[in-house]
C-alpha cells in the first residue's frame, strides 16, 4: 500500500515540477517584448547603449575648455602590464617661470591593450577612464596608436 502511495505521489510531484518548468518558458514566449534580450546590432547602432561596466577602450575626458586632468605622472604607464600606455612629458615653464612636468602626448596603443583597466585605479587624478566604444576595426595598424590628449589641450586648473 505504501509503495502505491509513493508511486502516485512521485507521479504527481513529477508532473508538478514539469508544469513549473513549462510555466517559466511559457512566460518567456508569451512576453516576448519584455523577455527577449537579443539585440539587432548593426540596425540598432543609433540607440545602442552598452552596459556601464563595459570596457571598450581607454579614453581621456576633456571638458568644454579643452582641458584634461592628466598631469603626466606616468603612474598608468607603470601600472600597465603590457606596455600599452606611453607617456611623453616635457618640462614647460609656467607663468612664474618655474619649469613644471607637463603632459606632452598620452600615447595609447589600442592594439596591445587587453582592457584589464589596471590603469584606471592607478591614476591619482582620475584623468582616464574606460570608454564604451567597441567598433575598433581599422584597415591600417598605425591607426590603432592613438594620442588621447587632444591637440592644444592643457591641464585643468587646480589638478596637481
Amino acid at each position: 500500500m505504501k509503495a502505491i502511495i509513493t508511486y502516485i505521489s512521485e507521479i504527481i510531484q513529477g508532473v508538478k515540477s514539469l508544469l513549473t518548468g513549462m510555466k517559466v518558458t511559457g512566460y518567456y514566449i508569451s512576453h516576448p517584448r519584455k523577455e527577449i534580450i537579443t539585440q539587432q546590432y548593426p540596425e540598432n547602432r543609433e540607440t545602442l547603449e552598452m552596459f556601464s561596466r563595459f570596457r571598450g577602450e581607454v579614453i581621456m575626458p576633456h571638458d568644454g575648455n579643452n582641458e584634461h586632468r592628466c598631469t603626466g605622472c606616468s603612474a598608468c604607464e607603470v601600472a600597465c602590464p603590457n606596455g600599452t600606455i606611453e607617456i611623453l612629458w616635457d618640462r614647460i615653464p609656467n607663468e612664474e617661470g618655474r619649469k613644471v612636468k607637463t603632459l606632452d602626448k598620452f600615447v595609447y596603443h589600442l592594439s596591445m591593450c587587453t582592457m584589464c583597466a589596471l590603469c584606471i585605479p592607478a591614476c591619482p587624478t582620475d584623468a582616464i577612464k574606460m570608454g564604451q566604444d567597441f567598433e575598433h576595426a581599422v584597415f591600417d595598424r598605425s591607426q590603432l596608436t592613438k594620442i588621447l590628449n587632444k591637440p592644444g589641450s592643457k591641464l585643468m586648473e587646480g589638478v596637481e
Partner: protein, 362 residues
C-alpha cells in the same frame, strides 16, 4: 459543418472525369496515384519549410532570443536558403559503409512517413485513402521508420551512428506501446478504426471532452509517447549531440541528411495530426451543446483550418516540451515508459472500458 466545405463531390468529379476520358480502369488508378503522390510530395516540401522555420522561431522565443532575422522579413527565407545550401552540398559516403543500405535508409524513413500521412483526414472527403483499419495502419506503419533509422546507423560503419540507432530502436519499440494503448483508449469509445468514422463520431463533441478524465490522461500519455516516437527532445537520445555527435545521421550529408531532417518534422506533423483526429475531432468544428448561433459561426470556418489549427496547437505543445525539459538518460527513458506510462495506460483503458460499459460518456 457546411456542405460547401465537403470535398467529396470535387474528388468524385475528378475521378469520373478521368474514368470517362481514359476508360481504362488501371490507367485511372495509376494517374490518381501519381496525382496524390505529387500533391503529398509538394505538401511535404512546403510543410518542411514552414515547420523548420516555426521550430527555430519558437525555440528562440522560448530561450529569450529572436531566432533567424536576417534572410528575408523576420528570417522567413532562412529555411529556403538552408534547403538551397543542402541541395548544393556534396553527397559523401563513408569508404567502408554498406553503400546500398546507406543510400536506402533515408528513403525508408521518408517512405514510412509518406505512407502514414495517406490516411490523414484533412477535411471531409480530403483523404488519400480511407482504410477501414486506418488507425491500426498508422500505428503499424509509423514503426517502419525505425527500420530506416536502424539501417542508417548500421550501414554508416560508425560507432556513434550505431549506438544512436540502437537507442532509437529501443526507444521507439517501447514507446509505440504507449502510443497504441492511448489511442486504443479512444477506440473503445469510437468503436471503429476508420479515420473518417472516428471524425464523424465526434460531430457532437470531441472525445477529449466526452471521454472525461481517462480521455485526458490518454491524451497526455499520447503526447509524451508521441514526442518520444519522433525522437524529439527531451527524448532525442538517438542524436544526442554531446555524446553521439549527431547519432544515426552522423555520416549523412546534403540531401540525404535533409531527408532525415524532413522526416523528423513530418513525423511530428503525423503524430500531431493523429492526435488531433482522435482526441480533438479532426476537422470537426468546435461546438457547444445547444448554442445554435455559436455553432453556426464555428461551422463557417473551413474544416481544413480546424484541422491545421488543432495540429499546430499540439505541435506547439511538443515544441514547448522540447525547449523546456531536460533530456532523459536512456535508463530514465525506459523507466518512464515501462514503470509509469504503461501501467497508467492499462489502468486508464480499464477505467475507460468501465465508463463505456456504463454509458457514462456523453
Amino acid at each position: 459543418m457546411l456542405c460547401i466545405y465537403d470535398f467529396t463531390p470535387l474528388t468524385q468529379a475528378i475521378h469520373e472525369g478521368l474514368s470517362e476520358s481514359l476508360g481504362n480502369d488501371l490507367a485511372v488508378k495509376v494517374i490518381e496515384m501519381v496525382i496524390v503522390g505529387a500533391i503529398f510530395l509538394g505538401f511535404f516540401a512546403i510543410l518542411g519549410l514552414i515547420l523548420v522555420y516555426v521550430e527555430r522561431k519558437v525555440a528562440a522565443f522560448f530561450q529569450q532570443r529572436l531566432g533567424p532575422m536576417r534572410v528575408g522579413f523576420w528570417g522567413t527565407a532562412q529555411t529556403l536558403a538552408d534547403i538551397i545550401k543542402l541541395l548544393m552540398k556534396e553527397k559523401l559516403v563513408n569508404k567502408m559503409a554498406d553503400k546500398l543500405l546507406f543510400n536506402l535508409a533515408p528513403f525508408v524513413v521518408l517512405t514510412a512517413t509518406a505512407m502514414a500521412i495517406s490516411v490523414m483526414p484533412f477535411a471531409k472527403g480530403l483523404q488519400a485513402y480511407d482504410l477501414n483499419i486506418g488507425l491500426f495502419y498508422v500505428i503499424a506503419i509509423s514503426s517502419i521508420g525505425v527500420v530506416g533509422i536502424l539501417l542508417a546507423g548500421w550501414s554508416s560503419n560508425n560507432k556513434y551512428s550505431l549506438i544512436g540507432a540502437m537507442r532509437s530502436g529501443a526507444q521507439i519499440v517501447s514507446y509505440e506501446l504507449s502510443v497504441g494503448l492511448s489511442l486504443l483508449t479512444i477506440v473503445i469509445l469510437t468503436g471503429t478504426l476508420q479515420m473518417s468514422e472516428i471524425v464523424e463520431s465526434q460531430r457532437d463533441g470531441w472525445w477529449i471532452f466526452k471521454g472525461h478524465i481517462p480521455a485526458f490522461i490518454a491524451f497526455v500519455i499520447y503526447v509524451i509517447a508521441g514526442t518520444a516516437e519522433t525522437n524529439r527532445g527531451p527524448f532525442d537520445l538517438a542524436e544526442a549531440e554531446s555524446e553521439l555527435t549527431a547519432g544515426f545521421h552522423t555520416e549523412y550529408s546534403g540531401l540525404q541528411f535533409a531527408f532525415f531532417f524532413l522526416a523528423e518534422f513530418l513525423n511530428m506533423f503525423i503524430i500531431a495530426g493523429i492526435g488531433a483526429t482522435v482526441f480533438f475531432g479532426g476537422w470537426m468544428p468546435f461546438h457547444i451543446g445547444n448554442w445554435e448561433g455559436f455553432n453556426m459561426i464555428m461551422d463557417f470556418i473551413p474544416p481544413i483550418f480546424w484541422f491545421f489549427g488543432k495540429v499546430s496547437v499540439i505541435m506547439f505543445v511538443m515544441m514547448w516540451f522540447r525547449w523546456t525539459f531536460p533530456r532523459l538518460r536512456i535508463d530514465q527513458l525506459l523507466t518512464l515508459e515501462w514503470k509509469y506510462l504503461l501501467p497508467i495506460n492499462l489502468v486508464n483503458i480499464l477505467l475507460m472500458s468501465f465508463i463505456s460499459l456504463m454509458g457514462w460518456h456523453f
